[in-house]
Symmetry: C2
Subunit: 418 residues, 2 copies
């Protein structure tokens, strides 16, 4: 009998919809009991595979698996752990094969961003180098939206919807207060290298909100920025600034790194938002408020984009279908067919072309002054945040599922992860 | 003809549902054209009354007024401006009466918290002292939930729902990441004097989340707090801290005031969240993330509590009904009849008993260790966050209304606000 169980793992920072991809993988696998036995999940991602800490998803009811579709975060645990090259750490790859062999695993589904696409690609090559047949499929996921080939990455649309909505709502608040109180509101968002998430904040502009975006792609120029703030406040009475955590000075220093020290002289970690807010206050005396969305933005399943949820699920399902069709070393992608009405289909990318390639925001998506987005960018973003997909609520709170995560019996000795 | 127009103004920090109260006032007034002529709104709150900057709400369509029910913030503008006593600034009260007289205003609806209840009470006494008949009704509103007599304050339930949901969602995220990355997540919430909002974060506990709350009511003890964090992390693998902006040391210093200085020695304003997060990091080396919700929490109409929206609307409607019944110097209240099933009715409180009285969290709502909430507190909170009341969405974003806010023609000379 050929190996017919599947392994699924979540990798890197989790999102509001990564579990929707898990749901797509598991539900689709369950529809093919003749071809796929059990789906084992790695507890804490790939670490679970290395340490033979496998979760038996077949112990979960259909209802529990269905609930993954509307449950944020990584239901099986994720990790930040990148496998080195086969040459640098052959031992880890050999261990992976041992675990796969011991548990009859023939399919490897890896749900993550750029780094995990690379790992997945390495695993896809193991059949040849280590003589054990395994099909490796990468399921795209990242709020950073930086995977190549695919039009967008599941996880991003929901963060974008959350940031656009929050920017709009908080800006309405500031507009109400500006006469005697807050005139400038600063919202810090994720995105160390790319301004995709920050760009979503600028969507509030079409709702009458004066927004300035500080992108990681545009070197920060304090004098020019302050002049822009002043112009907005004088014209509109208030202004909202959306600052990416990756916004930085020409010398590469992040805005967040201001060399601040506490009373005892210890270096103090702060955010970019308070730095920007204090800068504005010092220049003009404007009252300000600031917020740092942090995990709230990527966990906000209550405000997920319906488009994003559907695509996340579809990527999981397509991954299994590709595997059943005999494909290896590929990643399902979103292919955009049209903006308005929005239409898309599932595509397929060879992992060799995905691994270690980062997609940046196109220059033509950032407005000429560097503080906003162009119509092309809006046309790209709006379909991705469209539709609502509310989770069920119970007693006032979302009814998210926590799985049993029952362990598969170990068959091998211990293995230490470095 | 007796004065028959009404004046409505929004005061202090706005909320996700203060416009629902405005909607209740205006829709109810429109149902009584024989008794109430036009509803004029103060542009930027009471400042609009003093400067005769009135908005003619009769210029708005029924649809636009209905949309106020699901639009956060203050549609007419709010302000932070407290009238002094009649003795200290008689000029302002005389001006109010001049404006009321010039525009035939016989009803004064003031939508705010403790300070505005006091102002409203003063205005209610003007008939006697300045000889102009005006009925003054206070419509309760405050995310701080600190008005007396009423069971709760419109605005609070929605913030509580947002904070409880966000704490739950972000904690699921941390739980996923804790193995190799973030172990402690710190969320800073509003509440300088009372821990009502922070308390809502502890509702995530019933969903398996280890939560520690830092209340303004409990003096901060660093050693004891760090021991509690360590215990949670060792037992659960992770921990979430919800810190109130008002959390402080025994000497009264806020956690946020750490005397931090930037590279140039300038005092730096930060939040309590990064201070707490860095403290944990220094003690145990745990990786952390922190968020500051700030305006996001009180503007989050997309996640409003249905109970809260209904009560906000009902308070506006009841205010008009009280006025039509000839009442003066009163505030509609929420009277809780039972917790489960939740039942409430509209009550009525004399403003003399509301003005300048602050309601604190009962001691029996905070758990013995000072870091959590009791069952009594949960029983109180859960009904207030119950039900969802989503706004309509268009192209991915909530479709909030911006009114025309057409000015009423001035009839008086200018007046300078101090």
């Amino acid at each position: 009998m050929s190996a017919n169980n599947a392994f699924y793992a979540q990798s890197g920072g989790v999102t509001a919809v990564i579990n929707a991809s898990a749901c797509g993988v598991i539900e689709t696998a369950r529809q093919h009991p003749d071809r796929i036995g059990k789906v084992y999940a790695g507890r804490h991602g790939i670490i679970g595979a290395l340490t033979e800490d496998l979760i038996d998803t077949s112990a979960e009811s259909d209802e529990a698996i269905a609930a993954l579709r509307y449950t944020p975060s990584g239901a099986f645990g994720s990790c930040r752990y990148k496998l080195k090259s086969l040459e640098a750490n052959r031992r880890e790859y050999e261990r992976l094969i041992e675990v796969f062999r011991a548990h009859d695993i023939g399919y490897f589904f890896y749900n993550g961003g750029g780094d995990s696409a690379d790992t997945c690609y390495k695993v896809s090559q193991l059949s040849a180098s280590l003589g054990y047949p395994v099909q490796a499929i990468h399921i795209p996921k990242t709020v950073d939206n930086d995977l190549p080939i695919t039009d967008n990455c599941p996880g991003f649309g929901s963060v974008a919807k959350y940031i656009a909505t929050s920017t709009l709502e908080a800006s309405f608040d500031v507009r109400s207060m500006a006469k005697t109180s807050t005139k400038v509101f600063v919202l810090e968002v994720m995105g160390r290298h790319a301004g995709w998430i920050a760009a979503a904040g600028a969507l509030a502009e079409d709702h009458g909100i004066p927004v300035l975006v500080l992108f990681p792609e545009v070197e920060f120029d304090q004098a020019r920025f302050l002049a822009a703030v002043q112009e907005k406040v004088e014209r509109h009475g208030f202004c909202t600034v959306v600052v990416s955590e990756g916004a930085h000075y020409p010398d590469g220093r992040f805005l967040a790194e201001q060399g601040t020290r506490d009373a005892f002289g210890h270096a103090q970690l702060g955010g970019a938002a308070p730095v920007v807010a204090n800068m504005v206050k010092e220049a003009f005396g404007y009252k300000f408020h600031w917020a740092v969305a942090d995990y709230l933005q990527r966990a906000a399943r209550h405000l997920a984009s319906k488009t994003d949820v559907e695509q996340a699920y579809a990527m999981g399902r397509a991954g299994v279908e590709f595997a059943l069709a005999g494909h290896n070393a590929v990643m399902p992608t979103v292919r955009r067919l049209s903006n308005d009405p929005y239409a898309w289909e599932v595509g397929e990318a060879p992992l060799a072309e995905v691994a270690n390639v980062e997609k940046f925001m196109p220059k033509e998506f950032i407005s000429a002054d560097g503080y906003g987005i162009t119509q092309a960018c809006k046309d790209y973003l709006i379909p991705l945040i469209q539709g609502e997909d509310y989770p069920p609520f119970e007693r006032g709170l979302p009814k998210y599922v926590t799985l049993q995560n029952r362990a598969v019996e170990r068959r091998l000795g211990l293995f230490e992860v470095e």
